[in-house]
Amino acid sequence: MTTILQYLDPLLFAVLPYVALFTFFLMTIQRYRAATFTYSSLSSQFLENRRHFWGMVPFHYGILLVLTGHVLGLLIPDRILAWNSHPLRLYTLEITGLALGLLALVGLVSLLLRRIGTSNVRVVTSPADWILHALLLLQVGSGVYLAVFHPWGSSWYAAAAAPYLWSIVKLQPQLGFISAAPLAVKLHVTGAFLLVALFPFTRLVHILVVPNPYLWRKPQVVRWYR
């Protein structure tokens, strides 16, 4: 038993990240090249319009802002720590993070209920969607749990988790932080890598085709043969 656990940490936190990243880049590009048609947000708003709003909007705003926080913690950990040096600012950041996490969770749960409860929408739900929903629920759920029961995450993430993630980027995984971390943290990190790995096989690919060119293109589009 101990031997399994002994190997589990390196497997999950030193091997899985690379498997995930490799799969992500290879399969996303492959899917874009071979099956461009399948790149779609696969909206089901047409089939169910009301509950769609109450799920879609809180989930997306919540998850996007929380993700932005994670990325900032990764890119500018020092600034985050400096910001958190003042208790009031730390509390503000923590509460904001928790609120956004809860927003995402509420949105996700209502989306899941919508998917289960609306027969029209159930028809257009693939096995990949169900797996993705479960994984996202685990991810957002564990994130909210961490925010509540392992507080000051904005600080310890910047101080300890960010270096671990950078060690992966630098191809020299340092498992010091993660081995000592509580189970919920391990769950959250593993979930993140799984999401990255499954990314190209799910509807998550719509994130990559977010239509930013719209913001600066001319209104009309004309295509010529020549």
């Binding site: 099956a35 461009t36 048609f37 399948t38 790149y39 779609s40 947000s41 696969l42 909206s43 089901s44 708003q45 047409f46 089939l47 169910e48 319009n49 769609h52 709003f53 879609m56 909007v57 989930f59 997306h60 705003y61 027969s119 029209n120 159930r122 028809v123 257009v124 693939s126 990949a128 969607d129 096989f201 799910t202 509807r203 690919v205 719509h206 085709v209 977010v210 239509p211 060119p213 719209y214 913001l215 293109r217 209104p219 009309q220 589009v221 004309v222 295509r223 010529w224 043969y225 020549r226």
Partner: protein, 495 residues
């Protein structure tokens, strides 16, 4: 002058008999796939009526098209709005605004156990496969001219007096006409301007508006933006689809399926040359000048200067020739009897309608059936479909252009009647022609194109110059049940 060519259309409403053959031809050819069952790229509506999807003309409800507040802006979306609305489009119609497609459980007719009653085939949803109660359909208000549920909710009734409404709906006097619709392949398409992904585009060579199935990401902005609701969302593949004006047919010199199959021969297809430089200016014109502004975009294909400019732009000679023979040019620009639908949405639709004549109001003076009047065109004004209604539909709320078109049609009728039947005198007919601003040649032209309308004059399709079309080197005639052209993978829904 930036001369471009547009394949455009005229529908002669006076000839439409409401048989839906066009809709069926289109359905069989293009929208019999999963996810497209509810789409009617071509549909025929009864007017007055609410149409399909329900009350599509009501932009308070759907927020389609452009609005002019100084600058021209899309009602439903924009660069700022799209960021906020991309997760949930507040103006997206849902299946409830259309209908849930269904089939019938025919097996039950054979498999039902013996019993005292006849077995029935219950309706089954084509979305969920479950039994459903049918609540509406694509032509649910077909022929329901006076119905309080449908006809009385027609958005075009706005501004009509109570008497005019009564005249439309009174039993035994009620009247309706048919209004077939396809995509208008607009010059200033709202769907194209709304698409965040840039998947929708207008083809430069012939102006057909298409959705690039590989670039569509299901942001749904096109569905909301099109004021005619002629872009549909395929709920299965997660892609928007719309009328493609049967471009594989047009490119091979055949009329689109709905045109080809039209029993009443109400449909005309031809090239219009237009000045692309002035599109924005025309779309921005004041409401009462919109029709003239759009007409002024259309260039005279016989004008040597236009021909030179077209050649400079690289338009093939065959296209210019087709433009000269175009029936649409005659209807819209020369005769001026075809008008665009709801130009006030400012998309500059390139499908034009010849307004329908309707029966005259009888029983007007104290129960005496008397139609005598010194005004030869009195029955245009006293037609059962009020001019105001037609004006809302085809005249940007104004009746002048409609009156002109109807008077001309009426004059042509009298003129031809004087010639062929002889029970009205030619002098009166000629006087009517003069009053309707119509020469005898013009009248003969209108008569020929309306009554005789040989296929080769109705459909003047320019050669597509396949040699220039890189797109066509692939397999053009993909296979049935496929989605899109130019790629051969099956339309599998993404994971």
């Amino acid at each position: 002058m930036d001369v471009r060519s547009q394949i455009s259309m005229v529908f002669h409403l006076d000839k439409c008999l409401g048989c839906h053959t066009c809709s069926i031809a289109c359905k069989n050819l293009w929208t019999d796939r999963k996810g497209t069952e509810y789409m009617w790229w071509n549909n025929v509506e009864t007017k007055p009526g609410t149409g399909y999807p329900t009350c599509w003309e009501d932009q308070q409800k759907y927020q389609g098209g452009w609005e002019k507040n100084g600058k021209l802006k899309l009602r439903s979306t924009g660069k700022a709005k799209i960021v906020a609305n991309i997760f949930h489009n507040p103006h997206m119609p849902s299946m409830d605004d259309y209908y849930e497609p269904w089939t019938y459980d025919y097996q039950n007719l054979f498999n039902a156990p013996e019993g005292p009653d006849q077995p029935i085939a219950r309706p089954v949803s084509k979305v969920t496969g479950e039994y459903i109660e049918i609540e509406s359909g694509p032509n649910w208000d077909d022929d329901l001219g006076g119905s309080p549920l449908y006809a009385r909710n027609d958005p075009n009734l706005e501004g009509l007096s109570e008497a005019e409404r009564q005249q439309l709906f009174a039993i035994e006097r009620l009247v309706f006409f048919y209004f077939p619709r396809i995509c208008n392949h607009c010059l200033n398409p709202a769907c194209v301007a709304a698409c965040p992904s840039g998947a929708l585009y207008k083809r430069g060579e012939d102006g057909i508006v298409l959705v690039d199935q590989k670039r569509c990401r299901a942001w749904r902005a096109c569905v909301a933006a099109c004021p005619y609701k002629k872009v549909f969302y395929n709920w299965f593949t997660g892609k928007s689809e719309k009328c493609i004006l049967c471009f594989p047919r047009v490119e091979t010199g055949q009329a689109p399926a709905c045109f080809h199959s039209c029993v009443g021969r109400i449909r005309y297809l031809g090239v219009l040359l237009y000045d692309a430089e002035r599109i924005e200016e025309a779309a921005n014109a004041a409401g009462n000048e919109l029709i003239d502004a759009q007409r002024s975009l259309i260039l005279d294909p016989f004008d040597p200067e236009v021909i030179r400019a077209a050649e400079r732009k690289g338009l093939p000679e065959s296209t210019i020739e087709a433009a000269q023979k175009s029936p649409v040019y005659q209807f819209v620009k020369v005769w001026k009897i075809a008008l665009p639908p709801h130009l006030e949405f400012r998309t500059l639709p390139m499908l034009f309608y010849v307004p329908p004549m309707s029966p005259v109001l009888a029983n007007r003076q104290n129960d005496v059936l008397d139609h005598a009047s010194t005004d030869l065109f009195h029955d245009i004004e006293e037609a059962r479909v009020p001019m105001k209604f037609l004006g809302n539909l085809l005249g940007v709320g104004n009746e002048t252009k409609l009156r002109y078109a109807l008077r001309k049609q009426k004059a042509v009728r009298w003129y031809r009647r004087a010639i062929t039947v002889g029970d009205v005198d030619l002098q009166t007919a000629q006087k009517m022609l003069r009053e309707a601003d119509c020469t005898a040649e013009e009248a003969e032209g209108i008569f020929r194109m309306t009554a005789l309308c040989p296929a080769e004059e109705r459909f003047v399709i320019p050669p597509s110059h396949r040699e220039q079309a890189a797109e066509m080197f692939g397999d053009v005639m993909d296979r049935k049940q496929g989605t899109g052209f130019g790629f051969l993978s099956a339309p599998r829904r993404g994971l």
